[in-house]
Each structure stands twice: as C-alpha cells, then as structure tokens.
C-alpha cells in the first residue's frame, strides 16, 4: 500500500515553525533558563574539551549538566554567533517536538490522521508553550521529544525483535541521555515501562480474539516470551544512561550536591500560593483540564492500562505541595531537589495522543455525529467553537504572560558594562551584578571577567552559597534572611573573593553597600551604578581548578556529538524513505491495534458535560475569591491593604485614589508629601507582610490597624499604622494623615564644602601603574582596641582615627587567637564603623566574628526574617588575644558630616535626641554609633542604630535609643599592642604624626550616664546619602 503524505503533519510542521520560530525571538531571552544554556554554549564554544569554567562562583565544572544541547549551541555559534546558536537549537527543538508527538501519537492510537491532529494540538498545547517560552528549558524539550521519537522503535523492537529496531531505539535513547539526564531516567519509569506493558498487551491480544479475553495468564505467558528482549533492551538503556554521560555521574559522586534545597514554586501548595498554582498546574494542563475524564477513560482501557497508571502517578506528583502525597512518594530528599513541574509537563505530553484523538472525534469523527444527533448541528458548532476558542485563549495567554507580567528586569544593554570591565584592568577582579535577573548569564558570555555569583546552583562549591537556599546573590532580596545574609558576607569580606566591583541595577541594595564600606564609582550610560571597594587584591594569574582525567574530558567532548551522528545515520534511512515515499514500507506493527471510532459513548458525553460544569464552577469560585481578595475598595481592610500595595510598587496615582477625595488635597500635594519622606523605609523598604485588624467599625467609618513588616537591606522593620477609613458612595477611602509641618529657617542656602578628586593615572598608558602615580596610603591610628565578651559573643571594639591630611577609606580586619597563638577567626568591620573618614576624624568600630551561617545541619534556621542576624563563629578554644590590620586608602566620596545633634535628653534608660541637617545634601539613612565607656573611661562596647527616616536639609529628625545592660560584659584585653596600619605598627605610624595624644581632651567629650555596667557614652553619626547631588 502506498502511503500518502500526512497533510496534518505537514501543516503542523509549517505552522509550528512559523508560530514558535517567530515568537521565540520575543520570548526566549526573557525566560528563566535559556540564557543559562547559552552561557554553557559559550563555554563549549571557547573550550570544548576543558570542563572547568572560571566565570561563575569560584570556578565550577560544566560536567554538572548533560552537554549535548550546550555543545550544539556552541557549535552553531561558529556560524552566526551565540544567539543564533540558541535560536537554531530552539527551532530544532520545535521540529523534534512536533514530529515526536506525531510518531508517539501514531504509536498510541494507531491512526495517522488522529496522530496528525495530535501534532497540531501539540504545537498549541499550553505546557509546551510554557516550557519553551516562559521557562526556556531547551534540553528538557529536546530530551522529551527524542524520547517520543524513540518510543515507536522500542515498541517495534520488543514486539518484533528485529535487530534494526534495537539499534535505532538505543541510538535515540543515547541522544536523549546526552541532552537531558532526568528525562530518560524518569522516562524509563513513566514512559518506557507502560510502553512495554502495552507491547505485551498487544502481543497477548494477537493470541486471543479480543482484549476481553486477555487473562492474567495469557498476559504473563506473553511477558515471559518477550522477557529476553525486554531485559536486553532495558539493561542496554541503563548502560547507555550511565555510559554516555559517565563524567556527569563521576562528577556527581565526587562533588555531591551539598546545596540546601532552594524553594521552588512547583513544591508550593497551589491553593495557598495561587501564582504557583497558575504557573505549575493551570497553565501546563490548560484546556486538557476539561477533557480529563476522557483522557483517563481512554488510558484506563485495557490496552493502555499501564499508561493509565503512569499518567495518574504523574498527575499526582505534579500537584506539588497541595497534597502530602508527592512528598510521601518521593521522600524528603528527592522532593526537595526535583522541580515537580516536570511531572505535569510529562503528564500533559502523555495526554497529547488522546487529546488529538478527542479533537479528531469532535471535528470529524463519531463524537461529532453523536453530538449532532443528540443536540443538533448548531450546538456542535458552538461547542467546537468554544472549545477551540478557549484552547487558543490558553495558548495566547501563556505566550504573552511574560509580556504582561514581566518575569525579568528590563533588558539591559551590556555594552557599557563590558567596556567598563575591559577598561583599566577592571577585569582582574571579580564582579557582582545585583538586580540583573537571569540576564546575568548573558553578561558572563560577553566578558572575561569573573563573578562570585552564578546561575546554576547545583554547581556551587562555596559553603557560603551552598548552605543557603538562595538562587542567586543577584536577587537575594527575594530570599529574605538567607539572601541578604549571604550577600552581606560577600560584601563585608570582599577581599576573600577578590570582589571589587558591584553592578547595581536595583537601588534596594545601595544602603547595604554603603554601610559595608563600598562607594559609588560612576553611573554607566545604561543606568547601572558601579560600586567599588578599595583595598581588594586582584585575582592571581593562576587560579585553582579541579582536574579530571583526560579520558573523561574526551568522553565528555566526543560522545554526545557522536550519539547524534550515529542516531542520524541509523535513522535517516527510515525518515528519508518515509518522507519521500520511494519505497513501500512495512506497516509498523502498532498500526494494527488502533480502535475504530464509531459510536462515542453517550455516557462519556454526559460525564464530560458534568465535568465541564464542575471545572467551570471551580473556575468561577476561584475568580470570585481572587476578586474579593483583590477588589480594592470594598472593605476597610481591603482599602488599607491596597493602599500599602500601591505604595510598595510606587503606583502613587493609584495610592492617591484610595485617599478621601478632597479638592484641596490634590494628587500633586500627595506626591509632594510622598517625595519629601525619605529614609530606609520609604526609599528602600519592601513590604513583606501586612496584617490588618479593624479597631472599630460603623457603617460608614472605621479605623484599621495595619501591622506592616518591611524588609530593608539593613534590617527588618515592623511598624504599626492606624488609619481612619471612610465609606463614601459605597467605596472605602483612607483619611490622609497629617504631615510634618517643620519649616526650615532659610529659603536659600550658600555653603562651602570640601570636595576631592583623585587623578588615578596621570599618564595615558595601559602599562601597570607607575610608582609615582600611586597615592600614599593615608595614615590611621587605632586609638583604642578591646576584646570583649558579651551576649555569648566575642567581639573586638575600638576607635580609629584618620591622622592623615587626606580623606581615608578604612578597612579594618580583626583576628582572634587562643593562648597558643593559634588563629581562631578573622572578620571585617561591617556596619559598626564609619568607613570613610575626613582628615583627623574618628570613628568607633566593632568587629563581630561571623561564621558561614547554618553550616551544620543541626543548626536551627530562624524562621523570621532579620537581615541583621548572623551566625556567630563557634570557637573551640577561648580567644585571649587579637590583632587588628587596618588599611587606609584615599577616599573622595561619601564624606558628609553636616548633621548635628541639636538636642539630647539623657536618662538612665535611654537617650532621646534630635538630629539637624545643616548641609546641602539629604541624608537618607542616618546611623547612630553609640560607644560605651566604663568609669575609667575605657571603651567597652559599641552599638549602632539605623534611624528609620531620613534627615532633610535644614530639618530635624528625632531618635530614641535605649541603653544596653552591660553588667555581664567582660573586657578581656584592652590594648593596642597588636594593631597595624597599612602593614606598619600602629604606634610607629601614629607617634610620627601626633607626638603625644591629648587623651584627656578626648575624654572631655564623653557624656556622663548613670548606666548599668557603663558610666559614659559617646555618640557618633554616619550619614548615608541615597542621591548625592
């Protein structure tokens, strides 16, 4: 019999390539994963056989991910660049998917027309659209497509035992393994096992006259007769899974993933976290939800029974944390490592043939006839139209999701950053992008410079990162305590990682950078702010790497492409013959087992109607609740919540619309009042949680208490607001609050300020800096230093002065030693120090010894968020002595000192003070440093407090600080004997400049307090300016 070309498949291919092939140019760069794959592709393009990559983390091996797709991108990039490589691979993926679905559907249904329908619906299926256009999981798509291609071959091998099929099927399995390891691994369980079951079923069927007659005995006997083939095939497949990516397995053994589980939406309870439910359940299932009973009905028929079990399992596993079943089935470890969305993807792909069948029956088959007979032609048309309409709606909704709800920061132009890194040897240090999203991978493909961050967390090695459930440092603000805590450690001790530059695309991180001692260098043309840290050594020329044997390197570089080549040679003949119809081929065995589509069961029609009604009702309820929850002004609580929501996202016009309408109080006045309230909360706070309670309520008036919790880069802030709300014409509004009426004395201010400029190099040259172009390091003096034990912590406190004639940036590193002079720990001063000092300016400091948080599995992680929290270093021996290494470098910015303490009321318990800003810069976050002294006027402790609101020019800001009880504090060593400045003894440097310190004059400046464990205090100010003018 001569076969005609399947026109549906051709339509599907043409349509698929046009639709997805053009859409990817607008979507794929904004997906989560695609750029990571491109980065890996770049790696292979540059060093095919060398698996070590220095760009991310502190170096990692690319043997942590199957290489085929990446190598393909790398190979194709030689033709038209990296992006070309990525798009080309994506298009190949689309073609493979469409053809794969077709072949798989032919196998399952045994009907080429039905398979054609399946191929068409496959293109538009929302799970495929989501995987490609939102997640960008290219290896996953290619892996599952190849698996679908392999399935008919497997069937034919097991069924017929022809050697040809043995090789074709295994060659395809090998390619699958090389492109995505998880797919064949789970594919063996969820796809291949039921397939083998189906083969046995078919073989049994051939022995009897109908499916009904297949008894267990018949089935078992058939199984035994096929047993040899099954075992041969399965063991060969397992061998390939191990062998083809052997270096991967060896690497996972050698570097087990120590990463703690990183939260993933697919593990959420979808009913609680509705956004995850949308992304990982509703979208992938899409229109299939309406015909679920049909799918299950078909898959639970005797022939497909094993597929039925498999799809049930997949469906359940795909529900994530909604039910406890997936957790119990997979076990804690697997549950936390796997992303569960893949199960839903597989389930939806498994459903494609049945979906195709359903559509075929609806469009031209027995379902059409049944519907027309029962309800009439018009009903059938309307139903078909609605069905097709909602199918397309789902697809369009999915593909445009990224457009309406951006998943990534705006596209960044990387050229200025790349130029910056190439300039002046900036690429000799590591850099850190902040707020770049997944685009950071794209930056890494464009520069030689390395970053401490990275976007493939399974490959991380630094315990600072593997112990945290943090995706990337770059977006650490979304990860609460662990995120900011992790970032803090990198920013406080950057020299450990040779980290000198931070590219910030998110102002949120500015205060943490400032208070860790970083300063703004320049704003690039693309709006990215460059922050710099002084006194960081460049990377050494030779960096460590994990060497692997040359055999593994060769295997890794050669096998994947070889599998493609072999699979191509083995399968091309078949495809060639099928496509060109030169020769009449044998009818594949599975074509004999399709069912005849006559007589759609009317019971099924009823079930489907009822089910659709149920689904629609559930949808309706969901939409109603979402509306009630999100409708802004229907209740007093909603309006307050919406108001804070709008403020949080800086939708001021929207926020204003919730304020009681008043002609006198216009939007411009509202905006003005917003704009003058600066500070850590208003400028950098991110609303984390809001809880509202109604204090009293009448029909038209209520007062609402809003307990808000804000995450700021520096600390958690909990603040309670009380709002009066009013109901006007059925809508609730907020009564505006009174604003600060403080009036500054002067209308116009003239002032002289010291400003500085550093030439860098005077000669235009790319040579290493000349001796005479190096500025002398400013001299510092460590005036006081004390090792204290307080609150179960050892810490070093002290006072340091810039005794030079130029402003200095101070880096202070303290180390603790036990009595045998063994070093116990070392850390830098973080927040409790003023990092930039004017000539002769003094600051107190405190060094805490932080450990890598939660290094031990037994450590209890805090559940609440506190960015200021850190894990103390545990000392085995008691620290008895310490040294301090400080380094001064010429600073030219962040030297604002024009804030006075203009009023102070001191009691035994607290101080209440007033700050007054008399300069011409607005202070965004004022920090108060409080030093405690004992009655001998010896420094015993230093504390800090960030003031929540800023200080505007010529205006006041009030603060209250409660004293600590220092009765339990132990002062262990009060001495500056082991203090060093710029590598030279502190005393030698200091006495060269100041022959004799007038300590009595310093002591005159202390404030007497009747405190617990202390007798005097000193207050110092550290002013962070968010927007320097």
């Amino acid at each position: 019999m001569k076969e005609t070309s399947n026109k549906y498949l051709i339509v599907a291919l043409l349509f698929g390539i046009t639709f997805h092939g053009s859409a990817i140019f607008f979507t794929i760069e904004n997906t989560y994963d695609a750029l990571i794959h491109m980065f890996f592709g770049n790696h292979y393009a540059n060093s095919w056989f060398e698996p070590w990559n220095y760009s991310w983390y502190t170096g990692f091996t690319v043997m942590g991910y199957p290489p085929l797709v990446h190598q393909a991108i790398g190979l194709l990039s030689y033709i038209g660049g990296l992006k070309f490589g990525m798009f080309a691979v994506a298009i190949i993926g689309i073609v493979l998917f469409v053809t794969g679905s077709f072949r798989y559907a032919v196998l399952i249904t045994g009907n080429r027309t039905v398979a054609g329908y399946a191929a068409i619906v496959a293109i538009l299926s929302s799970s495929f659209v989501e995987t490609l256009h939102i997640f960008g999981q290219l290896p996953s798509i290619i892996g599952v497509s190849l698996l679908m291609h392999a399935m008919p071959e497997i069937y034919l091998y097991v069924k017929t035992g022809k050697r040809k099929y043995y090789f074709t099927s295994l060659s395809l399995i090998a390619v699958t393994v090389c492109s995505h390891h998880v797919t064949p691994l789970f594919g063996m369980v969820f796809f291949i096992s039921p397939l083998i079951g189906m083969v046995i079923m078919d073989a049994s069927r051939e022995q009897v006259s109908s499916y009904k007659e297949i008894t267990f005995k018949v089935f078992f006997n058939t199984f035994l007769s096929l047993f040899k083939r099954i075992v041969l095939f399965c063991s060969s497949a397992v061998f390939l899974i191990v062998f083809c990516i052997l270096p991967y397995w060896i690497n996972s053994k050698a570097n087990p993933i120590t990463q703690v589980p990183i939260p993933h939406g697919s593990r959420d309870n979808f009913l609680e976290v509705t956004s995850s439910g949308l992304m990982f359940f509703l979208i992938p299932w899409g229109i299939l939800l309406f015909i679920l009973p049909y799918i299950f009905y078909r898959y639970y028929s005797k022939r497909y029974i094993f597929f039925g079990l498999s799809i049930t399992l997949l469906t359940i596993l795909g529900t994530g944390g909604t039910t406890p079943i997936p957790l119990k089935m997979l076990g804690e470890t697997a549950f936390n490592i796997l992303t569960l969305d893949r199960f839903t993807l597989w389930a939806s792909i498994m459903s494609l043939p049945i979906f195709g069948e359903f559509v075929y029956r609806l469009v031209e088959g027995d379902l059409k006839t049944a519907l027309q007979n029962k309800f009439g032609t018009i009903y059938h048309r309307i139903l078909g139209g609605l069905f097709a309409g909602s199918f397309l709606l789902f697809t369009i909704f999915t593909i445009t999701l990224g457009y309406f709800r951006p998943l990534q920061p705006d596209k960044i132009n990387f050229l200025p950053i790349v130029n910056f890194l190439n300039q002046d040897q900036h690429d000799q240090w590591r850099f850190l992008p902040l707020g770049f999203g997944d685009q950071m991978a794209f930056l890494s493909t464009q520069t030689k410079a390395m970053t401490v961050d990275g976007n493939y967390h399974s490959a991380r090695r630094l315990p600072e990162l593997t112990t945290r459930a943090v995706e990337r440092l770059e977006n650490s603000k979304f990860r609460g305590v662990e995120g900011i805590g992790s970032l803090q450690q990198f920013l406080t001790v950057p020299e450990k990682y040779n980290l000198k530059y931070v590219f910030s695309n998110d102002k949120f991180y500015d205060p943490i950078l400032y208070f860790c001692g970083w300063h703004r260098l320049t704003q690039l043309e693309n709006g990215i702010m460059v922050w710099e840290k002084l006194n960081v050594q460049p990377l050494s020329k030779i960096l460590p790497k994990d060497e692997v044997s040359i055999v593994l390197k060769l295997m890794w570089g050669i096998i994947p492409m070889l599998t493609v080549l072999i699979a191509f040679i083995l399968n091309i003949q078949m495809i060639w013959l099928q496509a060109l119809k030169i020769k009449v081929l044998d009818k594949p065995a599975f074509l004999n087992h399709g069912i005849v589509y006559n007589g759609f069961k009317s019971g099924m029609i009823k079930v489907l109607h009822i089910w659709t009604a149920i689904v629609l009702i559930l949808f309706g309820i969901g939409i109603y609740f979402t509306y009630i929850k999100n409708a802004t002004q229907i209740s007093p609580e909603n309006v307050v919540k919406s108001y804070y929501d709008a403020l949080d996202y800086k939708f001021y016009e929207k926020a204003y619309s919730y304020i009681v309408p008043d002609k006198e109080y216009g939007v411009s006045q509202f905006m003005l009042e917003i704009s003058v309230s600066d500070g850590i909360l208003n400028s950098y706070g991110k609303l984390d949680a809001i809880e509202t309670t109604i204090k009293h309520n009448s029909t038209n008036k209520a007062s609402v208490i809003a307990k808000t919790k804000w995450i700021t880069p520096l600390e958690i802030i909990e603040k309670t607001y009380t709002h009066e709300v009013e109901k006007i014409k059925g809508k609730w509004y907020i009564v505006p609050e009174k604003k600060d009426t403080d009036l500054p004395p002067d209308e116009f201010i003239a002032t002289n300020v010291n400003s500085y400029y550093k030439q860098g190099r005077r000669k235009i040259s790319t040579q290493q800096t000349y001796h005479d172009d190096i500025l002398r390091q400013p001299d510092l003096e460590i005036i006081k230093a004390n090792l204290v034990y307080f609150d179960n912590k050892y810490m070093i406190i002290g006072e340091v002065q810039n005794i030079d004639n130029v402003p200095a940036d101070v880096v202070l590193k303290a180390s603790l030693y036990d009595e045998k002079d063994k070093m116990l720990g070392t850390f830098n001063a973080k927040y409790v120090i003023k990092h930039k000092l004017m000539p002769k300016e003094t600051t107190s400091f405190k060094v805490n010894f932080e450990d890598i948080a939660w290094l031990n599995a037994t450590d209890v992680k805090p559940t609440s968020f506190n960015p200021d929290e850190f894990t103390d270093k545990n000392f085995n021996n008691k620290p008895v002595t310490f040294d301090i290494q400080s380094a001064g470098n010429v600073a030219i910015s962040d030297l604002y000192t024009a804030v006075a303490i203009s009023d102070l009321v001191v009691s035994d318990k607290e101080i209440k003070g007033t700050l007054f800003n008399y300069g011409i810069q607005e202070v965004t976050v004022p920090e108060v440093l409080i030093s405690y002294y004992n009655d001998k006027k010896e420094l015993i402790y230093v504390d800090h407090k960030f003031i929540k609101e800023g200080v505007r020019i010529q205006r006041k800001q009030y603060f209250t600080y409660s004293f600590l009880n220092l009765s339990s504090l132990k002062s262990l060593k009060y001495s500056t004997e082991n203090c060093f400045v710029n590598g030279i003894s502190n005393e030698a440097i200091a006495r060269g400049v100041i022959k004799k310190r007038k300590t009595n004059e310093e002591e005159e400046q202390l404030q007497k307090v009747n405190g617990k464990g202390f007798a005097y205090i000193k207050i110092e100010l550290n002013n962070y300016i968010g927007n320097p003018k």
Binding site: N754, D772, L904, Y918, V993
Partner: protein, 413 residues
C-alpha cells in the same frame, strides 16, 4: 602520574648509561697540564671576552663559568695547542665577578676568575625612586630619593660615581653631590617647616631624571579659638547659630590641610552633650546648631580629636516667653493649643514641638507630641485609650509649661 612515567624511565636510563660510562672509563689518565694564557683580570661589559689555555686538548676540555648572571659550560675552540673559550654575549654584557673552572674528564684542571666592569663609554641611564610621595612639615620628616646610575646595558656604575641630586622649595634650589655606594646614590630630603611641594631631580654624567615632587603637608593643628554668630538670642527652635573657628595652624604657622575635622562640643544646662561638626576650608571650620526650643545656656568647646582644642565660649539663649492659648472641644476630647505667639507677638514658625503631658491622678499616662501648624497644635484623645474620666494636662512648648486643672473627658456619643 601516567604522563611522568616516560620521563622517569628516560632519566633513569640516562643515569645508568652515565654511570656505566664513568665506571668503564676509569682507565688511568695521563697527566695533562693546562696553563692559562689570558692574564687580563678586568674586562669591560659589552666587549668580547675570551679565555685561552695552552695544553693537550684532545680530550676536549670544557670551561665551567659562574657569573652573577648564571652558570654555564662552554666548549672551546681549538687552535693548534691552544684552546679558546668565548664568553657568550649575554654573559659578557653583565658586570660582576666571573669564576671559571677548566674541566677535563670531569676533573678540574685549572681555575681562576676575572671581573667585568660597567661600560662607561655607553650612555648613562639613571633609575630613580622617591618615597613617600608626601610627608609632614618639619619635625625631621623626610622623603628619600634613591638613584641608580647604570650603563646602557643596565649595569650599575662603579662605587663612588658622582650623582648630583637637586631639590627646589620656594626660592631655594640646592644641589648635593652624592656618590654611589652599593649601586645607589641617595639622599634624605628633610621636609621644610613650610607646607608646599618640593621638586627633586638628579643627574649623572649627561643622564637626567624627570622632575619628582614630594608634597609637604602641614603638621597637626595647635590650639585655636572659636566664635559664634546668630540672628537673634531667642530660643525659638528655628534659627541657626553658626560656630566658627579661628584659622587652624600647625606649630610652624602653616594653615592645616583642608578638610580637617573639628568637633564642636556643646554642653547644655542639663549637662547633655550636643555636637556639631565642621571641616576646615583655608583653616576655618564652621559648625551649625539649631536654636533650642527653650531657654538654655551652651558651653561650647571645639576639638581636633586627640590633637588640639579651643577656648570655651558660652552662648545663652533667652526664652521667647510665648503666650499660649488653648481650648477644649465640647466633649473635652480635642485640645487645641494655640495660637502660640512669639517674642514680637508674631505667630511662631511652623514645626514647633508641642508636648501634651497627660496625667491621671498625678501619674503621667502619656506624652503626645505634635508639631505646630500656623501657630496651632491639635491633640485628640481617643476613647480607646483614655477611658478614665478625669485627666489633668500639661502643655509644654518653647520652654513654657501650662498646667490645666483636672478635666472630665466625656465619652463620645
């Protein structure tokens, strides 16, 4: 390890061959004497250097050279009964002592040494370094200028080579002739007592250095005086008093570096220490402080921390003695304070702090603070918190306290 194995095998086999050769070769050698024909002990760098020997050369003796540049083994050139060894060019370019050993059949046959001297006929180069690039005035602070005169092959010149080191400061230019010792000629240039820039250069033969500069910074500040300036003497909580230092100078009379931090310490009547800061410009630092809201007296003293201090100055602020009106609403739950009138009977500027101390049975319940707006401040006592009926109030603003009698706060209807 796999890679290294062939090497080890090769090395071991070479060693074995050598060993066998030496063992086999142990036949008695005839006594063979060599005499050195080259008597010259000093050579000049850059010129060809050859050492000649006389003797039987059939065993091909070799010359082992030890030079500061390195060690090597030379093969000779035979000429009749003489053998000549030519020093390789890269060795002949470098100065230093050279020891040689004539070796035949692994036996030392003769040894000697000679010296290669810098080539004065080539161009002189001068390498120089100045450090630190800046220092403080006077007090034996100095910068060190180091020069290394070399010949064109980068060989340091012989000891006692003359180098003229010049430096300029203001009107004076001085030249010192230093001689090299241990390759270098150097001079400590002591900082003058005046701040400024010292320019330094050196010359040797026709070679000149570029201009080096050392910045001389003023030394630390000495004690100074302060003064203040203000618009009026009233404690209105709004105007600013400016505190100014005299010109801060070091002990040599130099104005201190710009940016020197001065801390003004203001001790008020309650012994609380207020602070304001100034950084010097041309020696003068200015700090500013807001007028207090009530009568007070500040005792002000300024410090450069640990280094110097100023005199003490007293600043007194007079009370503006405001007239304060207040009224209660019908239910006594809203208290309106104001208009508050200032010293000229004008309404006080906005933003004056008004405290309302609320007492119940002579116990302070709460202090509510409001800022004045158009001379008025409004307080509302919410029935949620103030359930008790009778309260007494104290209105506190601009240093004045007004006490009310006990008032019955009605419950809202």
């Amino acid at each position: 390890m796999i890679k290294r194995k062939p090497h080890i095998i090769v090395l071991v086999s070479i060693a074995l061959v050598l060993l066998s050769v030496t063992l086999l070769d142990e036949k008695p050698t005839t006594k063979n004497a060599f005499s050195c024909l080259t008597t010259q002990e000093n050579f000049v760098a850059g010129k060809p250097i050859a050492i000649e020997f006389k003797g039987n050369s059939e065993n091909k003796p070799q010359l082992f050279i030890i030079h500061s540049y390195g060690r090597t083994l030379l093969d000779g050139v035979l000429k009749n009964d003489k053998i000549q060894f030519n020093l390789p060019k890269n060795y002949a370019l470098k100065t230093g002592y050279v020891s040689w050993f004539l070796i035949e059949n692994n036996k030392e046959k003769a040894k000697g040494n000679f010296q290669i001297l810098p080539n004065d006929e080539t161009k002189t180069n001068l390498e120089s370094y100045l450090g630190p690039p800046s220092t403080l005035a006077g007090d034996n602070h100095y910068v060190m200028f180091v020069t290394i005169p070399t010949d064109d092959f980068d060989n340091p010149k012989l000891p006692n080579t003359d180098v003229a080191i010049k430096h300029q400061f203001l009107n004076s230019i001085s030249t010192d002739n230093e001689k090299t010792k241990d390759f270098i000629a150097w001079k400590n240039i002591y900082a003058p007592t005046k701040s400024g820039i010292v320019l330094i250069s050196a010359s040797c033969n026709e070679a000149l250095t570029k201009e080096f500069d050392a910045v001389i910074y003023p030394s630390i500040a000495t004690d100074f005086t302060i003064s203040y300036k203000r618009n009026h003497e009233f404690a209105d909580g709004n105007q600013i008093t400016k505190l100014t230092t005299s010109i801060l100078k070091d002990k040599f009379g130099n104005t201190v570096s710009d940016g020197t931090m001065v801390t003004f310490i203001l001790k008020n009547k309650e012994n609380a220490i207020l602070k304001t800061f100034g950084t010097t410009i041309e020696g003068i630092a200015t700090g500013q402080i807001l007028h207090p809201e009530k009568e007070n007296k500040y005792s002000v003293k300024a410090f450069v921390n640990g280094i110097s201090k100023s005199n003490s100055v007293e600043i007194a602020y007079k009370s503006i003695n405001p007239t304060i009106a207040f009224s209660f609403s019908k239910d006594n739950r809203t208290i309106t304070v104001g208009p508050i009138k200032s010293f000229m009977n004008q309404i006080v500027p906005d933003g004056i702090k008004v405290n309302l101390n609320i007492y119940h049975k002579d116990k302070l319940v709460e202090t509510i603070t409001e800022n004045s707006n158009k001379g008025k401040a409004e307080f509302y006592l919410s029935p949620e918190f103030y359930k008790e009926k009778n309260y007494r109030f104290e209105i506190e603003t601009l240093g004045k306290i007004i006490k009310t009698k006990e008032i019955n706060v009605a419950n809202q209807q």
